[in-house]
Symmetry: C2
């Protein structure tokens, strides 16, 4: 079943807010065998919304709209939906009660604008929003369905899971099965990997497709198969997965679509190990990535972000002679940071980074992007110097990813 998405909002088109709802929806519909056909991002403009609905219904029978439902005056979605589906805005008792409940739960005061959320098109069926004041609206026309949802990601995500997906599944019946398999691959560039997999790709069944999804430091390989015969896809996918493992060996660090910090967490938990980080140029981003994973408190003990040399010396025991001679951005410093934080916090494993994220701070022989990274597991300690290209964000991102990969390899 194909779905179109319309994301509504001026803020999306001037780049002040990034549309994350569409990706979330896609990630959660795919496993059900539903396919996002197109995403349209349009302005808070009645004509544009109208046109986008028309274009979307020409392609798919299901249209999911996000955004344009807040209490303030820049929102014109509801009147436009009235124009498209007929009816007029009417005050709805049940919605008013739900808005009042949400306001009470949040210890807020009701005000006229929030109260006006209870006005809904008479042509829709309301799905009450359990986590926000903007009601969701279900419209039907000529066998097609449009669901209008708020733009706040938390509200869209919660209500998609609780109500919209179950109701869509009930309303439509799915014929095609889509199966995905994702592999997280390190140590390859995209083109070297493609050459390595040339023969493999040639013998793949026609109905299965291989995609390369490069991210800094890793490539996600994704097999996609679509067929009415689910057992056949699964059998073919199992065979192709086994072949990929034969060809790529240890370069596949995970056979599920997981982040590197999730993969690290699984490894640490399997082995019953603890970890800490000592971060200079990554500024806490390694810790942040690790602690984004639920349950990370089982293996993550803590971090010292040592942005100034005084902290590197006092807490991580990097000798001042080292800092004064070879400097903070050096192999000696990176290695002692890993040893130091591991001793200070009493962990089995550690990662450390020290480098120049830029745009300022370059030194003779150490251009922006120079980063020393170390990883430690028990008595094993490895370190390496990298030169990452690009902006500050990108250097921080690459250094974080690389530190996690270095520890992952030590744990093999």
């Amino acid at each position: 079943m194909d779905v179109s998405i319309i994301a509504i909002g001026d803020e999306l088109l001037i780049g002040q807010v990034t549309d994350t709802n569409s990706g979330w929806i896609a990630r959660h519909l795919s496993p059900l065998g539903w396919n996002v056909h197109t995403v349209r991002v349009v302005a808070d403009d009645s004509e544009e919304i109208f046109k986008a609905i028309d274009e979307s219904f020409a392609e798919t029978n299901i249209v999911l709209c996000t955004g344009g439902l807040g209490p303030t005056k820049d929102d014109i979605t509801k009147p436009t939906l009235c124009r498209y589906f007929g009816g007029e805005l009417v005050y709805d008792e049940a919605t008013a009660r739900n808005v009042q409940e949400v306001v009470d739960t949040r210890h807020l005061k009701m005000n006229p604008l929030t109260a006006a959320q209870a006005n809904v098109p008479s042509s829709c069926r309301v799905i009450q929003n359990k986590v926000g004041t903007a009601p969701l609206m279900w419209f039907e026309k000529d066998g097609k369905v449009l669901v209008s949802m708020p733009g706040v990601p938390f509200e869209t995500e919660t209500m998609m899971e609780l109500e919209v997906i179950p109701q869509l599944l009930k309303h439509f019946s799915v014929n095609d099965h889509i199966v995905y398999r994702t592999f997280i691959v390190i140590d390859y560039s995209e083109s070297v990997l493609a050459i390595k997999l040339d023969e493999f790709e040639r013998q793949m069944p026609d109905y299965i497709h291989l995609a390369y999804l490069p991210k800094p430091g890793v490539i996600r390989l994704r097999l996609t198969g679509t067929s009415k015969d689910e057992a056949k896809i699964i059998a073919d996918m199992d065979r192709l997965s086994a072949q990929l493992h034969d060809i790529l060996g240890d370069a596949i660090v995970c056979s599920e679509d997981k982040s590197l910090s999730e993969i690290l967490g699984i490894k640490l938990r399997e082995k019953g190990l603890t970890v800490a980080s000592a971060e200079s140029c990554t500024g806490g981003n390694i810790a942040h990535q690790i602690t984004e994973i639920a349950g990370s408190s089982e293996y993550f003990v803590g971090t010292v972000v040592s942005y100034c040399n005084r902290v590197k010396n006092a807490l991580l025991k990097v000798p001042n002679e080292i800092l004064d001679t070879v400097g903070a951005v050096s192999q000696e410093t990176a290695e002692q940071m890993s040893r130091g934080v591991s001793e200070l916090l009493g962990t089995d494993c550690a990662m450390s980074t020290t480098g120049i994220a830029g745009p300022g701070g370059a030194e003779p022989g150490k251009p922006v992007g120079t980063v020393w990274i170390a990883a430690k597991y028990g008595d094993k300690l490895v370190s390496e110097c990298f030169h990452f290209p690009g902006s500050r964000d990108r250097v921080i991102d690459r250094a974080t990813t690389t530190a996690i990969i270095m520890l992952l390899k030590l744990l093999k």
Copy 2:
């Protein structure tokens, strides 16, 4: 001048990658008075790309495409562009030399797939990619322009700035001026703010528009004016800005579109102060947000992420009696974490967080989302307990934002 964007890639439509290019492009075209009309996200599918180009050219004279240009087999953009604009794929000497240079700079080895990047449609003018192997392509047809760019954000961003924007400005002449003013507002919910600004909005000139852009803990207010008379917009904007400051006072923490961590950095630098953080449930995210800002080493000293109680006691001097009685998620712990990290790292200011990010870890009387936050500036120390709704990500995000706002208020 209006621009349409087409983002190409299956990975975008199954949600494995989020399209950040469109937002980046929008943010960088807006100040030039250029307006992104619509964004279309389409699959790696020749028919869909073809149709999206048609639809986009029906709306605007400029179309910017990102994605679909990698060296691997899932890319079909170049042949589709040949079909749309005529011509055929031809080997281009200058492009081949550029690809070789990029490969050499990165210390990579040339391979047949990367070499094939030198095949380009004969109907385009190539813009050499200085930071990647996929060439950019400029097409013209009936006075309209399409520029095809790689999907890797770093490459798109670099080449947009270096070549695409300057070449577009030269090729087209702009008539309308668009002026934006953005205000970062704290301490208001969206609807309460809208009521407060009701009278203000009513007396605004018709050609100026006010938008509410809520993010966790802050609302960005954006005034947009479009007119041929630039002096008039600027005068009106100045007047409206002064009115907004009169109405909202200290709730406006910044009159530019800056992140809270940028605003904090500016305040700290003005006053010549240093800062540290002690983080439990935010897991290093405060440090990460602070260090994303270039030049943060001038005021940021470091962080202790104390994910386990042992670290809270050993490094931050939270007494074990406190941890054993009222517990880690308590006012006493939050306050001592701020005091402790400020003493340990010798800083003027500090922020600290301790709470339950979820989904596990709830205790009697302390449900998921309970977070104690403290902020310290010299002798002043404030702390408060919050109950943030939503997922782990969201709790971490809100706690981070709230800690920064608490310190910002102390620094007023």
